[in-house]
């Protein structure tokens, strides 16, 4: 159900809305001030009650992730690392928080550091986001000057430091172990797991990696209380709590970022918030949460028998299924980053697939043969389809190549490249065949309206 909120976004667009003064005058830093006086275990318990599912794409429960960290005092420092690499095509929410509400990020980092027993936090921002980096550094300097960061934050004997670290242009550095290698000054190649970051992460020390939005919502969690926060969501009963940022781009009248209670549907995102399809066109398909999720057609119907939680959704359009981590996982899709890409029927789905596979081919780090070779192979097939030189056999090979990538790689990039290919080719089979049988003739031949 559509419920707009403004916990993270209330100062967006206001003059100086990103300053410490504006942040504090709307209640900022009260949560961290209080959290730093609580026992560490109580902080984690409260975070668990909030059911904040990781906003970086995998949807893991944040409080639970924090609880995996070893007890402090094991001889090694602990680190909090914030993933601000935001590179998943279609995703543009974290940038708005860093640029327009950087103090919420910092306050969330303080709460997170305290919860996991860390005294230092690195915010890994992709290099291109120069304004975001500047706003974060400015906010850090403001918070240090006030004594909120440093040796005695809010007068507590619990030193806290936050640093901004920059990448240098590589989508794969958003994968958390690749990000850790990059933070350590290495090539950004994903690591084999185990060990998991909570055991041996940054600099070989216990580390939690959280997405920007995941921590930025924590001040709200501790202001409202975990349970009250969770209940803002329609999916509280699914342990998917609170509010989050939803994005919509592509062929809608009002692309943008909208903060809403969890439980919003794609239909509400596209038509109520996004203003509907541009140019009087019809909806061709929607990718729910960043390009690594499978595309959905408007006529897809939810069908999950023998699951009481799905009784109210079975038989309905996928556009009316609430955008939650588990509902989307159970129907075989993925929620991802909750930033949807909308294609109208002016767009050619074959060209959309070609565009995305070029991206994946370009961004594969090349460590695993199935990913490196598979993405290259898929890219060549889609290029040939568009040129009109592919055969139906080659189109059928897409399934085999993508299936060989899935599950056979070091990191989830491989699956993220394979899943969209499988979905596009299966769901837009007719358009792919048109290209092949018509020697490159297609229905629209373009992506832009």
């Amino acid at each position: 159900m559509l419920k707009r909120t403004d916990y993270l976004t209330k100062n967006y667009g206001k003059p100086d809305g990103f300053s410490l003064q504006v942040y504090e005058s709307s209640g900022g830093y009260r949560a961290a001030r209080r959290v730093l006086t609580l026992p560490r275990e109580a902080v984690i318990e409260e975070a668990k009650k909030a059911h904040v599912r990781g906003r970086g794409g995998a949807g893991f429960d944040c409080g639970t992730k924090w609880s995996f960290m070893p007890k402090p005092g094991g001889g090694k420092p602990h680190y909090l690392v914030i993933n601000a690499d935001e590179g998943e095509p279609g995703t543009f929410k974290d940038r708005t928080i860093m640029e327009q509400n950087p103090h919420a990020v910092l306050e969330g980092c303080m709460i997170g550091m305290y919860a996991i027993g860390a005294n230092a936090c690195y915010i890994y921002v992709r290099d291109e986001l120069h304004l975001a980096k500047q706003r974060l550094w400015d906010a850090i300097h403001e918070a240090r000057a006030k004594g909120y960061l440093g040796e005695l934050p809010f007068g507590n004997n619990y030193p806290l430091q936050i640093y901004v670290h920059t990448g240098a242009g590589a989508y794969i550095c958003g994968e958390e172990t690749s990000l850790l290698n990059s933070l350590e000054g290495r090539r950004g190649e994903p690591r084999l797991k185990p060990p998991f970051p909570a055991q041996a992460g940054a600099f070989g020390c216990p580390t939690t990696v959280n997405n920007v939005e995941t921590v930025a919502i924590m001040p709200t969690v501790f202001t409202l209380g975990g349970d009250a926060f969770s209940k803002l969501s329609d999916l509280h009963a699914w342990n998917d709590g609170g509010v989050r940022l939803f994005g919509v781009s592509g062929h809608v009248k009002r692309p943008g970022i909208y903060e809403c209670a969890v439980g919003l549907t794609l239909r509400e995102l596209i038509y109520d918030l996004g203003g509907g399809i541009e140019g009087g066109r019809e909806l061709l398909g929607v990718i729910p949460g960043g390009s690594s999720c499978p595309v959905h057609l408007p006529n897809e119907v939810v069908h999950v028998p023998n699951n009481p939680k799905f009784e109210m959704f079975n038989g309905k359009s996928i556009l009316d299924l609430p955008l939650g981590v588990d509902p989307f996982r159970i129907v075989g899709s993925m929620l991802g980053t909750c930033c949807a890409i909308v294609l109208s029927d002016a767009a050619d789905p074959v060209l959309a697939m070609q565009n995305l596979m070029r991206f994946y081919k370009h961004e594969s780090c090349g460590q695993c043969t199935p990913c490196r070779e598979g993405c290259g192979w898929l890219e060549r097939i889609f290029d040939k389809v568009v040129e009109g030189t592919a055969t139906l056999d080659e189109l059928d090979q897409v399934h085999e190549i993508a299936s060989n990538i899935t599950g056979n790689t070091i990191c989830a990039f491989g699956d993220g490249a394979a899943q969209p290919a499988l979905a596009f080719v299966r769901k837009y089979r007719e358009q792919f065949e048109d290209y092949i049988l018509g020697q490159g003739r297609s229905q629209t031949g373009r992506l832009a309206i």
Partner: protein, 160 residues
Amino acid sequence: MAFVLSQERERELTEILSRYPNKMAACIPVLHLCQNANGNWLSPDAIQFVADRLELSPAHVKGVVTFYSLFNEHPPGKHQIWVCRTLSCALRGSDAILEHCQKRLGVGVGQTTADGRFTLRTAECLASCGTAPMMQVDKTYYEQLTPEKVDRILAALSKD
């Protein structure tokens, strides 16, 4: 000539080192610092300088430089332009924007204008999909582009 940093940048380097538990972690930030000080590229001397200062092998530093797309091993033009071409931008006309840039500047993707002023490149999703089509010029994002807007931006940059 051996690569050196100005006093101010040397202070910055010291401050960067203070953020991390070891020197290697400063590798990417220090490479950015040197690239910014050196007309936006990393010469072999600059790479050697970073290796010496961070007590790393030149091979390690070179391996890092070649992994990341924003490190240049050759001097680019005075202004670098990146036109985003990933799906959300493509759905809103990035192809036309890129074509327009190519026509205006008279260069292809990856090339630098004869006067050394502009290098034209493409980028993958720059987290600005809601205001597509967009491009980055040096450190600034330009969003909701039209060909006319591109003309105004290029004209302003041609004068400075």
